[in-house]
Amino acid sequence: MSTEEIRAALAEIVNEVAGVDADDVQLDKSFVEDLDVDSLSMVEVVVEAEEKFGVTIPDDQVKNLKTVGDAVSYIESARAAA
């Protein structure tokens, strides 16, 4: 999957969970400040992403995923390591 494909798939999840317009889910956007995704919704996004991308995102890593780009990078490296 390309970076853009991961971003687009993640955007679909964010839309499903939090109702954010998928087009707004861009790499430079902050989940909390720009997209208004609260902490519980973020957990839902993470769990959906784990299933979608076949990766594990430990709870203690979630706080480091501040932007969509952080999440996409994490997913890319986790997939590469798998």
Binding site: A18, V43, E44, E50
Partner: protein, 418 residues
């Protein structure tokens, strides 16, 4: 001593097996329609009971998608009914104009069972996919006070936000407690009611196994038949009812339309059996007596009763005994309605939906019918309306009765206005 604070009803809302709003519900009640239908869900295929009063309007068709997925179905119903009542009372307008103090607004939204569908669907997910798949929203969705809290967030209510839990009496108890909050000076406005969403195979199997539900396989619309000799158990329903209760002073100051007055309430317990009603209805009798005494009501002024009347063999007879014990010779003059014949039994939502019907009956001076009453049980000596029946002019009183497992009994007396 100063005069007691008077409490009035200024807004109504409901979503239930008949309709998704109060006005349409009332029309369908007057037309004697039934909201009971077959359950299409294939998970019910092996159950002894496959009918229910399924909500006429799917709540997810009304609510925003993301909002809805964060709420248990019981909270969805509660939010829809409460929002309707809030708008009906004109409080959205008052709030927008900065004329409402949220610190003086409370909520009393009852639930019988809580978010049981959320609990069970998360358990299914855990068994199937592991604990990681349990939703982080499961607790705020399934907790019993989720419907009340959801409403508090929606309307900015910051006085007491309560969740009375007394099984099938819960919704009526919420109204009694809401009136108390206002009388005690703790709130000017309380959004009161009850909700339930328990049409899931597990609670249906549980109610069926305790022989509470009818297992009759005839026409679903005829199975809920209070006081009829062929009644053999209740039919489960789902939905919510909501009423805006307000101090008379507050309502008058803002020029609100007043549907009815809450004159008095009585809450008692049987201390007899965890599930069976006292066969003599003594606890319910005391609840009605207390409601009458609380409202300083002459039994002769009671013109209408919206009975609990669930269509169970024992409960319906016990309630008739209560009315004779409390209203004496006047009991046979009172127009009695059993609206569960049309809606099924909404458990924690029942008392609230029936309170909406009771208030509308006073407002329109018209008692709704009891359908499916073909052969009146000879043990029941009551004047039961089988068609819409005019209620007298002048100051009249209507009672709303609710009784629940655990021996809970609640009676609320409403008075006509104008």
């Amino acid at each position: 001593m100063t005069a007691r604070t008077r409490v009035v009803v200024t807004g109504l809302g409901t979503t239930n097996p008949l309709a998704g709003d109060a006005a349409t519900t009332w029309e369908k009640m007057l037309a004697g329609e039934s909201g009971v239908r077959p359950i299409e869900d294939p998970r019910f295929a092996d159950l002894a009971v496959r009918i229910a009063g399924v909500a006429a309007v799917e709540p997810t068709d009304v609510l925003d998608r993301v909002r809805a997925r964060r709420l248990d179905r019981s909270s969805q119903f509660a939010l829809i009914a409460a929002t309707e009542a809030w708008h009906d009372a004109g409080l959205d307008v008052a709030q927008a104009a900065g004329e409402l103090d949220g610190d003086r607004v409370g909520v009393a939204m009852a639930s019988g069972i809580g978010g049981v569908q959320t609990l069970l669907s998360n358990y299914d997910a855990m068994l199937e996919k592991g604990p990681r798949r349990v939703s982080p929203l499961a607790v705020p969705m399934l907790m019993a006070n989720a419907p009340a809290a959801t409403i508090s967030l929606e309307i900015g209510a910051r006085a007491a936000v309560n969740t009375p839990v007394s099984a099938c009496a819960s919704g009526n108890e919420a109204i009694a407690l809401a009136a108390d909050q206002i009388r005690l000076g703790r709130a000017d406005v309380v959004l009161a009611g009850g909700t339930e969403a328990a049409i899931h195979p597990l609670p249906v199997a549980a109610f069926a196994n305790m022989m509470a539900l009818s297992k009759n396989e005839g026409d679903p619309t005829t199975i809920s038949r209070p006081w009829d000799t062929a009644r053999d158990g209740f039919v489960l329903g789902e939905g919510a009812g909501a009423l805006v209760l307000e101090s008379l002073e507050h309502a008058q100051a803002r020029g609100a339309r007043i549907y009815a007055e809450v004159l008095g309430a009585g809450i008692t317990a049987d201390s007899h059996d965890i599930a069976q009603p006292d066969p003599q209805g003594r606890g319910g009798t005391r609840a009605i007596q207390r409601a009458l005494a609380d409202g300083d009501i002459d039994p002769a002024d009671v013109a209408h009763v919206n009975a609990h009347a669930t269509s169970t063999p024992q409960g319906d007879v016990a309630e008739a005994l209560m009315l004779h014990a409390t209203l004496g010779g006047h009991a046979s003059d009172v127009v009695v309605s059993g609206t569960k014949s049309m809606t099924g039994h909404l458990l924690g939502g029942a008392g609230a939906l029936e309170a909406v019907a009771t208030v509308l009956a006073l407002h329109h001076r018209l008692a709704p019918p009891t359908i499916n009453l073909d052969n009146l049980d000879p043990q029941v000596e009551l004047d039961i309306a089988t068609k819409p029946r005019d209620l007298p002019l002048g100051d009249i009183v209507a009672l709303n009765n609710s009784f629940g497992f655990g021996g809970a009994n609640v009676a609320v007396a409403f008075g006509s206005v104008g």
